[in-house]
Every structure is written in C-alpha cells, then in structure tokens.
C-alpha cells in the first residue's frame, strides 16, 4: 500500500474514495445512524493513515486490514466494550512456526481463494456468515432472526469455515 511507504496523500485519497463509503455502509448495517456512521468512517480512515506503517502488505490484503480497523472501532463505539486482542510482543505469546517460502501463498492468491470460497457457499451458510459480519449478531440473535435452532446456526457457521479451509486445501480438524 503506497500510503504506508510514502505517506502519500494522493494514494490516501484513492483509498478514501473506495473505502470510506463502504465503511460507512458497514457501520450502518451494524446499527449506527447516518451521523455516527459518517463520523466513525472518517475516524476509521484517519486511523488507516496513522497506522499505515503497521500494515504489512505481505501478510494481509488492504481490505482485510481496513475491515479489522473498522470492526474494532465499531465495537468500541457502539457496544462500549473493548475488543480483547493478543499482543505479539507479549513474553507469553507463542510465535508462528516458520513457513517454507515455496508453500506460502501470496496475499492476492489468498484473496482470490477467499473470494471464490464466499461465492461458492450455499445460500443458508452465506446468510449466517453475512449476519455475523455485517449485522453484529451473536449466534443466538441469528437463531432468533432466522427462527432456527441455535445448533443449526452454529453448524452452518462451522460448515462455512470448513469450506473455507478446504478451499485452501487444508484438512478439517474441528
């Protein structure tokens, strides 16, 4: 991301015109009114600028990183909760094992696998995944919304994760 390297305001403008309206839409679907969605999407984009140096383009797609920023801001702002997260600098943290360079997928390969996996989900799985991401619904809230047993909601979410793993060619364990 050019923003990270050069702190280039022109590059930032491009990111802004793509993501600010999408973040605003995302925040509205999570229950924000228009005014607070507007304010918070501006805040999210300001955070993109300020934290750009922490973004590692070899590890995650820009969309994934920006999604995580917007998600965390929305938890802080609307739920008045903290989002507990691990800290790679923590002495107790167990680091990732080394991946052989020839087996590691590039970020764009990962994104295209993920995109195909989402497109290939059966409707009933895609529905619960979307409610989980877009509407900030817990498992029980999804169950009430769709008038389904809680166990069905959980198993659909599990199946969708299994599909995602399978599309990466992994064995399923859980």
């Amino acid at each position: 991301m050019a923003v990270a390297e050069s702190r280039d305001k022109n590059a930032f403008s491009h990111l802004f015109s793509h993501y600010a309206p999408r973040i605003k839409s995302y925040l509205k679907s999570r229950g924000a009114n228009d005014a607070s969605a507007e304010e918070l999407s501006q805040e999210a984009m300001a955070a993109v600028w300020r934290k750009a140096e922490r973004y590692d383009s070899s590890k995650a797609a820009a969309s994934t990183w920006i999604f995580a920023l917007a998600r965390n801001l929305s938890i802080d702002a609307f739920r008045k909760e903290k989002r507990p997260a691990f800290d790679p600098e923590d002495p107790a943290f167990i680091p990732d094992p080394e991946t052989a360079p020839d087996t590691a997928l590039s970020v764009s390969e990962t994104q295209s696998i993920v995109r195909d996996a989402i497109a290939g989900l059966p409707k009933e799985q895609s529905e619960v995944v979307r409610l989980s991401f877009y509407q900030d619904m817990t498992h029980s809230e999804i169950a009430m919304e769709l008038k389904l047993p809680l166990g069905t909601v959980k198993s659909r979410l599990r199946l969708s994760m299994r599909k995602l793993r399978e599309s990466f060619g992994e064995e399923h364990e859980n």
Binding site: A61, S63, R71, I75, F93, V114, I118, H139, M161, R165
Partner: protein
C-alpha cells in the same frame, strides 16, 4: 508446546466478525496468544471480512469529508497521537499469563477475590463489569476430583497452568474445552502442579451426585 484442544470454528468466526461478546472474546484472544493454528483460522476469517467489506453497497459520504480528514491528520501529526499504550503486565505474573487476560487482572492473581467453591477448588471473578457470560479463574489443587456435574448453559474452559483430565481427554496449558447442557463430567486435576483455568460460563453448574447437590449453593459461580 502448543494446544491440542481448540475452540470450535463457529466461535473463531464470530471473533473475527466482531460479533462475539467481550467475556468470550477474552478467552478466545488468550487462546490465540498461545495457538498459532487458530490465529491462522482467524486471519482467514478476517479475509472473509475484507472481501465482504469490498462487497457492500457504498453509502454516500459527506461532501468534503476527505478534506476534513486530511485537515485532522495534519493537526494530529503536529500533536502527540501515535504513542503506543504500555503493556499492562501484572507486577507478579508468576503463571506467565498471556495478554489480553493480564489486562483484566489488576496486579497479581494472588490479589484476586478468591472464593472457596468446594474442597481444594477456588474461584475468582474477573472483568465483572462486562455484559454477557461470566468470566473467572478457577484454581484446583493437584490431584483433586471435582464433583461430577452437568451444565445449564454453555461453558468454555481454558487451561493456563497445570492440567486436568475428564472423560473427553487431557487438557493442559492453552487447551480449550467447550461444555454445553449435554456434557456431564468429572474433571480430575493432574498431579504435580495446581491447575488454573479461565472459565466463561453462561448458566450454573449442576452437580449430579447427592453430596455434590448439597454443595451446589457453593458451586454457584
């Protein structure tokens, strides 16, 4: 050594989606600190979030919003904005507890309000200001048999020190066991070291034995 028993995929997905309650997220994020395999799953699920963000129908942003943000950034750059928060490590982290759990414990685990729950079993609530399920630490003396019990709601347990064994397997540091109202079990703490667990409970424990039923009032977490 890394964990052998992991949280289920539906919980990891909800954590990535940002729709998991804070108490359960404390346990999940603490597990993630110790489990590279589950971090990998969460990061895949976050890629789903990124794709879904690209997919939403954009909503018009205010005219001039970009200039407002750029002006704010110029202001911010002159001020002090990018100071990272110092790591909140308890002064006596004898159990080598990972973050984010330590952020919820002031000082040492020894100074928590430990309550007697039963012979050789103590419980201390943490993060009690949050909504949703209850979170706390459980200390079980080495070799202790916890009374046979069922569960009236979902319960997640993660081992932080020592270990225990029940009908479903052996659990040591980093391992997570999920119990729902179908599971009746009798955990036995491993010999040697005190077993310390992080527990997130929705319902109350339901002892099944006669003596255990008599002590149920004490078992209420």
């Amino acid at each position: 050594m890394t964990a052998h028993h992991h949280p289920s995929d539906d919980i990891l997905l909800s954590y990535a989606a940002g729709s998991l309650d804070e108490p359960t997220s404390i346990l999940i994020a603490t597990h993630l600190a110790l489990c590279p395999a589950c971090r990998e799953q969460v990061s895949k699920a976050e890629s789903v979030g990124g794709e879904l963000l690209n997919d939403v129908k954009p909503v018009a942003i205010q005219d001039g919003a970009l200039d407002v943000v750029l002006a704010r950034l110029d202001e911010g750059e002159r001020g002090q904005i990018n100071v990272p928060a110092p790591a909140a490590v308890p002064h006596d982290n004898d159990l080598n507890l990972p973050r984010p759990l330590t952020d919820y414990i002031d000082g040492s685990t020894k100074s928590l309000p430990w309550r007697w729950l039963g012979p050789s079993v103590h419980y201390a609530p943490i993060a009690s200001h949050t909504k949703g399920p209850k979170v706390g630490l459980l200390r079980i003396a080495p070799g202790t048999r916890v009374p046979m019990h069922g569960h009236s709601g979902n319960e997640l347990t993660m081992v932080l020190a020592g270990g225990y064994t029940d009908g479903t397997g052996n659990y040591t540091r980093g391992d997570v066991e999920a119990a729902d109202d179908g599971l009746v079990h009798q955990p036995i703490a491993d010999a040697g070291e005190e077993c310390v667990c992080l527990v997130v409970t929705e319902g109350v424990l339901q002892p099944t034995g006669l003596i255990a039923r008599l002590v149920q009032p004490f078992l209420r977490i």
